[in-house]
């Protein structure tokens, strides 16, 4: 397989919160151009793992390597963005007082230093990118609305759009379809598929139908550790997974 190049690899990472180990000694790999789901019971450490990757949470030990040469553990959160990792948070965290369009403008991949920001002018290409993204997410009619006034689903999409405009190599999504209606879920799923064409997507999700439908590869976490990893089918047939997560079928 030509395409299974390692995008991200965590090496023996441990995360502690005042004595409690949210992640212990985790080895984990993400390969490129896949939709990679991360599932597991509450408290298994999924969100914490995303936190570590994007620099929100410090590891107690171990390292996380991106594209085989960047150790993320040493980078500040905003610099991790610069090398191509973008994250969508669990609750939609968009900027409520800015318009949809402005939200997208500040998300654009560009020099985000002080001076560059002061002098920034939007280019034709960027405008085109934004328009495209507005179409992709169906927010084109709302582009001049204050983001705070969007519906829940629209906010989620806006955030996804913001993540994508950064043109990341690796996209981290934390429960992107939580609170969405069935139609919205479908739409989101299609969007994710579209996204994954030329980048890697790592998603934390609970909705099993959704996982089944869109996953290329699934990782199951449990108790801060990796339980197993594989295609949806492999996962479904793994007894350990049934034990901790999916519920036992009677013998």
């Amino acid at each position: 397989m030509i395409s299974s190049q390692t995008v991200l690899e965590s090496k023996k990472i441990t995360v502690e919160f005042s004595g409690f180990k949210a992640i212990s000694n985790l080895d984990f790999k993400v390969t490129n151009n896949k939709v990679h789901f991360l599932i597991g019971p509450n408290g298994a450490g999924k969100t914490t793992l995303l936190d570590v990757i994007c620099g929100k949470t410090q590891v107690s030990q171990g390292k996380v390597v991106y594209m085989e040469d960047q150790n993320l553990v040493k980078l500040k959160d905003f610099k991790i963005v610069h090398i191509g990792i973008s994250r969508k948070f669990q609750t939609p965290s968009i900027f409520q007082n800015l318009t949809v369009y402005d939200n997208l403008i500040i998300a654009l991949k560009q020099d985000k230093g002080l001076w560059a920001t002061i002098t920034a002018k939007i280019t034709k290409n960027q405008q085109k990118d934004i328009e495209e993204m507005l179409h992709l997410t169906g927010l084109i009619d709302e582009k001049d609305q204050q983001a705070g006034a969007l519906s829940h689903g629209q906010k989620q999409w806006l955030e996804i759009a913001m993540v994508l405009l950064q043109d990341p190599g690796l996209v981290l999504l934390d429960e992107p379809i939580a609170g969405m209606s069935k139609d919205e879920r479908m739409k989101t799923g299609e969007m994710i598929r579209e996204i994954a064409k030329d980048r890697t997507v790592l998603i934390v999700e609970h909705d099993m139908d959704f996982v089944k439908e869109y996953a290329d590869i699934v990782t199951v976490m449990h108790g801060g550790q990796l339980l197993c990893q594989g295609s949806m089918e492999e996962i479904q047939n793994d007894p350990r997974v049934r034990e901790v997560y999916l519920g036992r079928k009677e013998d």
């Binding site: 919160f17 005042s18 949210a22 929100k56 949470t57």
Partner: protein, 301 residues
């Protein structure tokens, strides 16, 4: 040698004053995250209560009992300041629990009004309070004199600390407060009436400001603006100590007290003050969230 002991004592004494004025704040700011700029004015209220009680004693109570006024003032100052605290919480603070900076500004406005109120009632000039007889003079050790009033304040602040400690760690109310501060929602789900807890906690924090005001009449002026002399120091103590931990306030108070005394002894009061501030900034570089701070998941965001 005696110089060293005296400096130590002075540091301890200044620390105890700082502790006393910061204790209430450690509760309202430290535990409840409310920035009450009117805390200084609650101190002022405590001081005026002492003055009023003293005046009443002079008028109505035989002279031989005069000294008792001070002992009586302490609980009354506590109650009246707590009463003002309740008023403040009900009318204002409860709207501002999630807006700490706004609570700062609004309570500053309240402080202004309370100052003017004091001026309208008691007049602009300072009023005098006669110290009770048993606090006159001092403990003489060799050629050292340790003023009784200082020793009294030191003991009072320790007493208050112990009282606060016992309240929070040994009573049902204190337990409720801690439960609410740790997990408001869960406490509510277990039947704790969080509104009442908030109100009570704020009242207690305010009440301790009243006690501080009462004690300060032994050392300083009693006038409408005295609160402004202490408020910044009090906040500094809590910030240095670390918000949310009583023990932090203790360390913060005595730390600032000692450094201030030592700096002042070797330089001047002005330079001493400046040096202490520099030290605080430097210190916060090292520990941005104060001396005693707990890193946990909940505090991260």
């Amino acid at each position: 040698m005696s110089g060293t002991i005296l400096t130590l004592f002075n540091g301890l004494s200044l620390g105890s004053i700082l502790l006393l004025i910061a204790l209430g704040l450690a509760v309202t700011f430290g535990l409840m995250k409310v920035i009450n700029m009117a805390h200084g004015e609650l101190i002022m209220i405590g001081a005026y209560v002492t003055y009023v009680i003293q005046s009443l004693f002079l008028k109505y109570v035989p002279e031989s009992f005069f000294d008792l006024y001070f002992l009586l003032s302490i609980p009354i100052a506590f109650l009246i300041a707590a009463g003002f605290g309740i008023l403040l919480e009900v009318s204002l603070i409860r709207f501002l629990y999630k807006r700490p900076l706004d609570s700062l500004l609004a309570t500053y406005g309240v402080g202004l009004m309370l100052q003017q109120l004091a001026r309208s009632i008691f007049g602009a000039p300072n009023v005098g309070v006669q110290s009770p007889g048993f606090l006159n003079g001092g403990l003489t050790i060799g050629n050292l004199v340790l003023p009784y009033s200082r020793i009294f304040i030191l003991s009072l602040s320790i007493l208050c600390l112990v009282a606060i400690f016992l309240y929070f760690y040994r009573t049902a109310n204190g337990r409720r407060v801690r439960a609410v501060m740790q997990n408001r929602q869960m406490a509510e789900c277990l039947g704790v009436q969080t509104r009442r807890v908030d109100l009570g906690t704020f009242a207690i924090g305010s009440g301790f400001a009243g006690i501080a005001g009462c004690a300060l009449t032994l050392l300083g002026p009693i006038g409408p603006t005295i609160g402004t002399y202490y408020i910044i120091d009090a906040f500094m103590v809590v910030v240095v100590g670390g918000v949310g931990a009583l023990i932090g306030a203790v360390v913060g108070a005595f730390g600032i007290g000692f450094f201030n005394t030592i700096f002042e002894f070797f330089t001047s009061a002005t330079i001493g003050k400046v040096l202490v501030f520099m030290l605080i900034i430097a210190f916060l570089q090292w520990r941005p969230s104060g001396l005693v701070s707990s890193r946990s998941r909940a505090l991260d965001e």
